[in-house]
Amino acid sequence: MRYLPLTDTDRLAMLARIGAPDIDALFADVPEEARLSGPIPGLPMHASEMAVEKHMRQLSKKNLAAADAAFFLGAGAYRHHVPATVDHIIQRGEFLTAYTPYQPEIAQGTLQMLFEFQSQVARLYGCAVANASMYDGSTACWEAVAMAGRVTKRKRVVLSGALHPHYAEVVRTMAKFTEDEIAGASPALQSQPDNAGLIARIDDQTSCVVVQYPDILGRIPDLAEIAEAAHAKGALLIAVNTEPVALGAIKSPGELGADIVVGEGQSIGVGLQFGGPYLGLFAVRDPKHVRQMPGRLCGETVDAEGKRGFVLTLSTREQHIRREKATSNICTNSGLCALAFSVHMTLLGEKGLRQLAAENHRLACAAADRLAKVPGVKLLNDSFFNEFTVLIDGDARAIVRQLTEQNVLAGVSLGRLFPGHSELANGLLVAVTETTTEEDIETLASALEEVLA
């Protein structure tokens, strides 16, 4: 058993020091009838590294990896090229196998990185303060809603219909238990987001309005208009971003008046990973809201010799200290994913991020133009960044499934995202990134032409 260093000789010597006749004596407090007499049934005995690796590789090969397909999926998870340096850094044992940095004297590596991460996220979002990360975008979204309730002492939450349906579902699930009232909707298939309709739903009991930017259909809503309306009623605007690369091309939500900005950070550094682990980002525009924020915060201070150093701070908000009075349930963050994000963002820098965003947008425009030429396909969006909706003469979900046989992963059908909504069944979300080639676009267009002919 390669992970266990004790030899039988060691074990005997240790039992002798303890004064126990055998190992079972140490389990004497476990009622005999509950103790398993032998190894747990069903599970095979230990296996060599080679055998386990082979088993896992066989499972892995049953999946169609994105690299082996013409790939156009998005809807909250995007495929970007992650530089090899990112993986090298996160595999450093000192980062990978470190604990939560509660002992700052021997955790400055993680702490300084988190401080830099917070600063990067705050700037990207146009906010004053970001935290040290959340589980993912969807849970960050719920935490923002809960925080808005604490700040405004109101219970009515207005969700945009064009919010990612998983995010909306998480908010609804959690709200059931906190008695928040959730008003949601499904998106209408229009070329522009329905700001007027959304604004009409804000009243003076509304704690917050939750708007995705760009939205689930890829459209770019005018956040400033919504912010103004929300603020007029005393509500907060929560902006949700699922594609941080977009913020290299479009204005930051903070700049447009969002009070809380949350999102998914997976695009930068993390990779697809079948949905997790991902990286929740969370920031507030106004520093006065800091003490209502969920999650860990890393702050600058000095040590006993006056040297600059970093610590986890304001932890009196957190549950391991506050117990039942904590501001949120979150404890673990996504430390290693935050590191990956921060390394990738450092490699990009402002210049690289802007170039990356421009390249994504350029290719997305090319794809939209090409697909719009396919008979039976219509582009919905007036505006988009790297993801847009097309309407297809047919059931988009069935077509997506059919195209997998040609190794084309055509996008995410609205039928998959909104299973109860037959009015959305001909919608297909198509995402395009720098990893998409002109050839991929042509492959998709041709495949659609064929299937719609």
């Binding site: 389990f27 190894p39 690796e53 980062f95 699930t173 949905g275 039942e324 402002e350 997506v400």
Partner: protein
Amino acid sequence: LEEPLLFEIGHSETTGVDLPEPQGGGNRLGGFERTAAIGLPGLSEPETVRHYTRLSRQNYAIDLGLFPLGSCTMKHNPRLNEKVARMPGFADVHPLQPVDTVRGALEVINELAFWLIDLTGMHGVAMSPKAGAHGELCGILCIRAALEARGDAREVILVPESAHGTNPATAAFAGYRVENIPANSDGRVDLEALKARLGPDVAGVMITNPNTCGLFERDMKAISDAVHAAGGFVYCDGANFNAIVGKVRPGDLGVDAMHINLHKTFSTPHGGGGPGSGPVVLSEALAPFGPLPFTARTADGVVHLVEEENAAEFDHTRAFGRMTAFHGQMGMFTRALAYILSHGADGLKQVAEDAVLNANYILRSLEDVLDAPFGHSGPCMHEALFSDKGFAEGLSTLDLAKAMIDEGYHPMTMYFPLVVHGAMLVEPTETESKAALDQFITALRSVAERAKAGDETLKTAPHYAPRRRLDETLAARKPVLAFTEPDDI
């Protein structure tokens, strides 16, 4: 060597990637083009590697030494698991791909789920929670959903005073009132006090077993029976599952829900604070309420993804909702599955035995110099508890713990559990060798003796770490949470 902040060395014009200069092409941004600078510094690749490599060296980590953190189970992270998680079929698949293109990924989830159920003797498992506390919440929400389904609104969750702080927080978050249950002089739950409190307003108890004093709750089955008889449910905090995996099944003790920290017992790396993963195993009574999505294997061996749209097909219409987008922590699942298969049935049993053996070895090797308040209560499980009794005036557990840094160790868990004064909770885990334990014991003996002798230098420890003690009060009083340019001030 001090490493400057990224913001002090990077430039907005420097980049470590080679991307094309923006070309003409279309602009469909709807008039929301970014105009102002973002303020993101960039570094070239060599500078990036050096910045983070240097930073990393200011960290302590399992790869460098023993991590005696009670209740946190910092054990070795196998390198195979890192390799497996990066296989393209796991790392490079999208969560919303058509299910026929991700059957292997669904099989991983399903296979791991199967072994978690097998190892715990439970009935079902919710795989999607993203961390231990998220798993606790999931378990409590299952309990609440089950009670609501029978129209039985209850208000109180009982929690022993030695509970993890996350337990009462979770219960409160789910809308319950928390009441404490005292411990007896052995360091275990006072069974009679618990029984006396049970009643129709009690939704359930949250209990940690082995408990945070490092002891196995002998009366667990009796506790469960009493709670069930009173119409409540038993939540078990699974953070300490490392001590009993392969030896006892929580299901056999009457547990209804237990989260499993894959990053503890099943050794996915902590990564400086996450990502974690907290699947929740559920009893037959609670399983119908587990959240979406999950996987199911039909008789033909095919693994299905069960979501809102097909829950009825799999007889799972009472799910309490969805805890997160997508399917949970796939990257942790692949690692945990590789870990379980590597150890196997015999290996996991050995894990628990060696973990308990190592802890008892530490307990018995140190109880002559450190007060072990429950040393009389029988063998400990996988962690040994000490108190600050006998320290010289003015010296605290904190001082001792910080002095351990100078000896080359991460401090133990301090001031927890609360039932012991100046508690020190030491969990060596099974991946430490006898030689490593002996070295640790020698170091701790020496520091303990200095604490008893009143060595004042402990108060300013650590002396040999990258930093001396940090001013946490200043950090909280005047929070500086993001970099600001010097000339902005």
